[in-house]
């Protein structure tokens, strides 16, 4: 049950991508890891886990791209993947992003841009997920919150993030779509 799907884990940061890929492979899927900016033809999969550019930027302390470009890039990847999924009548898309104090505390303008990006991403998610639902394709967003205040007195592990991703990619998760999940990974 649920085994042997073609899965692509795309972009983002190396360890998290590797652990998610291993987790999906462990569930019996045929997994390909791809760097961000992969050719559209390579997005021919039934499962797409998209690690947002915000993950690499968070590590490198790089200022975010303009929110419009950000959201459009996400939308473009999801659309390409969905096109291939449509043919098989099955698809699981998880968009993984990061949010934290660093993106909002530096200035009011940065906070406004972060809000803009969040609203844009969730808006695109809602609209796109509704359109894809009748085709058997689910689309969900997972946000890793780097703020502190996690009720668990330790940091999260890549495996724990991967577990949520795997759950959302499960064959039986077909009714979980257009949702936004948050995981506080901050050191409490």
């Amino acid at each position: 049950m649920g085994a042997g799907r073609r899965a692509v884990v795309l972009g983002g940061v190396s360890e998290l991508r590797r652990v998610i890929a291993e987790r999906l492979a462990g569930a019996g899927h045929r997994v390909t890891e791809l760097e961000a900016g992969a050719a559209p033809a390579e997005l021919d999969a039934e499962i797409l886990v998209h690690l947002d550019a915000s993950l690499s930027r968070s590590l490198a302390h790089v200022d975010p791209a303009p929110p419009f470009l950000e959201v459009r890039a996400t939308f473009t990847v999801i659309e390409r993947a969905a096109r291939a999924m449509e043919l098989g009548g099955f698809g699981r898309i998880v968009h993984l992003r990061v949010a934290g104090p660093a993106s909002t505390e530096s200035s009011p303008a940065a906070a406004a841009m972060a809000t803009f990006e969040l609203a844009g991403t969730l808006g695109v998610l809602q609209e796109t997920a509704r359109r894809l639902a009748p085709l058997g394709i689910t689309l969900n967003v997972v946000t890793l919150m780097t703020s502190s205040g996690v009720p668990v007195a330790r940091t999260a592990t890549c495996a724990e993030v991967a577990a949520l991703v795997e759950m959302l990619c499960h064959d039986q998760a077909g009714f979980t779509t257009a949702q936004s999940f948050s995981m506080v990974i901050g050191l409490g």
Partner: protein, 89 residues
């Protein structure tokens, strides 16, 4: 103690490569330099902790238990090295 020193140097390299820190050289990181506090020069966040932890587990084939992921282990290269050494033992 030499083993611990070697481990500290390895961890500095692992930190720089895993987190793709472009403006930091491994040899510039102090043994006891704070890594994750907000006022730290490196200013790493919990996503960095997540990545680093996974890289350490993969590289040294150690598994950190639930109690092994506490904030104090991430204070500096020195505390990380001590922790990895005890986890390997």
């Amino acid at each position: 103690m030499d083993a611990l020193r070697t481990l500290r140097e390895e961890l500095k390299h692992l930190l720089v490569t895993t987190l793709r820190l472009e403006n930091v050289r491994p040899e510039d990181i102090g043994d006891t330099e704070p890594l994750f506090s907000p006022e730290a020069r490196l200013g790493l966040d919990s996503l960095a902790a997540l990545e680093l932890l996974s890289a350490i587990e993969f590289t040294y084939k150690v598994r950190f238990g639930d109690e092994g992921l506490a904030r104090e282990h991430f204070e500096s290269i020195s505390t990380l090295a001590t922790f990895v050494a005890s986890a390997r033992a």
